[in-house]
Amino acid sequence: MTSSDLTLAISSSGALYDPTLEFLNNCGLEVNRPNKRRYIGEIPALAGVSILFQRSADITWKVEEGNADLGIVGYDRYLEFQTNPEYTQILLNNLGFGACSLAFGVPESWFDVSSIADLAEVATDFKRKGLNLKIASKFPRLTEHFLISNSISNFSIVPSSGTLEIAPEMGSADIITDITSTGTTMKANKLKTISGGIILDSESCLIVNSQSISDQSNKLAIINQIVTKLQSYLSKRVKDA
């Protein structure tokens, strides 16, 4: 890897790791990673491109900081972890993998809560008792924005990074917001989703550092090549579907 290389950050492990490699492979950009402990790889078919393997949560700021020029990241994490929105842009939305939703999980025992409006009333009941509805979340920013824009105010967020689903049962929070694709994990932990309680539908997207696509950047041509390959695969897939 040289300083003139273009760097593409992708997940180093977790739910997006295999689908990202498969997607790039399908686009004709097979990634060569010497071994799973090595955090730098390459695309043999495209000279001058380095792959930076990162935790999914770190990809957004790596691209913001300019440590990577491009990044493939979940739309949910992109919105949650942005610190300087003007430093990055989305080049391609909906890459066709990593689909999930950020949703509220409410204890099944709360029979009276079936919609976000019910939740607002429960929050008001808590306030009357001198309490705040406590929400455990790995996505505090998106959760807070959703609640405020829906006129729900009596809550506090308990930022969490571990297994959220047990927070209500353990008593560290009343409800949670978490990523779900089928709702199975929530159900297994005696939680249910509610009507109007989807904060965001997400898929993977391609983001870019704004400086890397400025007129002065010598990386523009190679970014164009990558985007063209990705677009061509995405449109072919739409036609085949």
């Binding site: 976000i116 409006a117 607002a120 001198g130 705040n132 006129s151 009596n154 008593g171 109007g196």
Partner: protein
């Protein structure tokens, strides 16, 4: 034979040091860029500081004559104190961080919550009156796109606790005007709304508390005909309104009955968290009765819209129109009665306007709410405001409600206006 020459060696050594030093300087200058002041943080120059001290002293002296006791509060408080007051709405404007032990703390965005907390801790008596005044820096992380966003400013204000009479509303309004009379600002508009009777009207119309809060929170959007439809649609999406298709549809009721039976039979096997099985059942029963339909909601919003159109932004006058529900007319007549009791300092030119479309969150207020505005170069500047918040004691954990009203002004903004800086 080579003779070791110390002087040559010494010269080389000095030269090397110079080269290293220059290279080090280059490195240092590369990495030690000057550190700028944080955007929005306030620096008082000597003039500003002198004016501020003089002004705050003269206001505090005047307030003391009205028996308002000076108090100062911690600059750092538990984040939950502010979240309990205004909920998440304020949390996006808080400067929050975690202490080394993990406790979430925030720089104070205002004084009111701390003052109420101090009273709760000292076992405030609900039959006594308390008068406090304060001044000091507060911190609010503003939205980036707000003009002249100052994230640190000096707030000066007063709270009157333990009285919910019309006279106490007038006392706080009078005090806020007395405060401004000590400043160079002489022309004012006081825009007043009254949330209490509107809450009552919505409650009497069958609104749940959540629907009332939702409506009040969006009241400033209620300006055109289409806005009632948009708001109704949003309330429907959120599940705040009944989705019953026809009057004969009883499926919701049946479902609730089934849930109640399930709840009763299995309640020992469920973990209800910080709620109880009885609370869950009670809400279920309430849901059975409460079923405001979107057509009814839209109708009530239209009444509100027409009412605001007729009275908002008008001078405070006695009510002549009688075509509106009594609660709404009461809201105006109450404002009118308060204003009659207000003492206006002789050196001020004050216009009182009725205004229900305040942009700040209304859900925290329970009675009158007012903003103090002045015109500078054809721009309206809000320099202070206040309102009644009778629910805060209970929200902060007190066993009962104690009425309270207060106001605050931004002293730095007032001085900047005086110095022609805005």
């Amino acid at each position: 034979m080579y003779v070791h020459d110390n002087s040559v060696e010494q010269s080389f050594s000095i030269l090397r040091s110079i080269v290293e030093f220059v290279s080090m300087e280059k490195q240092i200058s590369k990495y030690s860029l000057p550190i700028s002041k944080l955007e929005g943080m306030f620096i008082s120059d000597t003039n500003h500081l002198n004016l501020k001290n003089k002004l705050t002293n003269s206001i505090h002296e005047a307030f003391s004559k009205s028996e308002y006791i000076s108090i100062d509060c911690p600059i750092l408080e538990p984040t939950e104190l502010y979240e309990r007051k205004s909920g998440g709405e304020i949390s996006k404007r808080l400067y929050s961080f975690s202490e080394p032990n993990g406790k979430k703390v925030s720089l104070r965005p205002e004084f009111t919550s701390s003052i109420i907390r101090i009273l709760i801790e000292s076992n405030a008596n609900s039959s006594s009156e308390y008068r406090y005044q304060y001044s000091g820096p507060v911190f609010r992380n503003q939205e980036k796109n707000l003009p002249s966003s100052t994230k640190q400013f000096t707030q000066l204000g007063a709270e009157l606790i333990g009285n919910n009479s019309i006279q106490s509303d007038a006392e706080i309004l009078s005090l806020s005007l007395e405060c401004i009379s000590k400043t160079p600002i002489k022309n004012l508009t006081v825009a007043i709304g009254n949330v209490g009777p509107i809450r009552e009207f919505l409650g009497n119309s069958g609104f749940t508390e959540a629907l009332t809060d939702f409506t009040l929170d969006n009241i400033n959007k209620l300006q055109v005909d289409d806005s009632t439809k948009a708001l109704t649609q949003k309330a429907l999406e959120l599940g705040l309104l009944s989705k019953v298709v026809s009057d004969t549809d009883s499926s919701t009721e049946d479902k609730i009955l089934k849930l109640l039976t399930d709840l009763e039979s299995k309640k020992d096997s469920y973990n209800f968290g910080r709620r109880t099985a009885d609370e869950v059942a009670e809400r279920l029963r309430k849901k059975q009765i409460n079923s405001l339909k979107s057509t009814e909601y839209n109708k009530i919003l239209t009444v509100l819209l027409n009412f605001f159109r007729e009275f908002s932004k008008t001078n405070v006058v006695s009510i002549k129109s009688t075509s509106y529900p009594q609660e709404l007319l009461n809201s105006i007549s109450y404002i009118s009665n308060v204003v009659k009791e207000v003492s206006i300092p002789k050196n001020l030119d004050v216009t009182f306007l009725i205004d229900f479309e305040r942009n700040r969150g209304l859900t925290y207020y329970t009675g009158i709410i007012f903003d103090i505005e002045t015109e500078i170069n054809q721009n309206t500047k809000t320099i202070g405001g206040g309102g009644r918040y009778d629910g805060l004691f209970r929200a902060l954990g007190h066993h009962t409600d104690i009425p309270a009203i207060g106001f605050a002004v931004n002293i730095d903004e007032i001085i900047s206006i005086d110095r022609g800086e805005t």
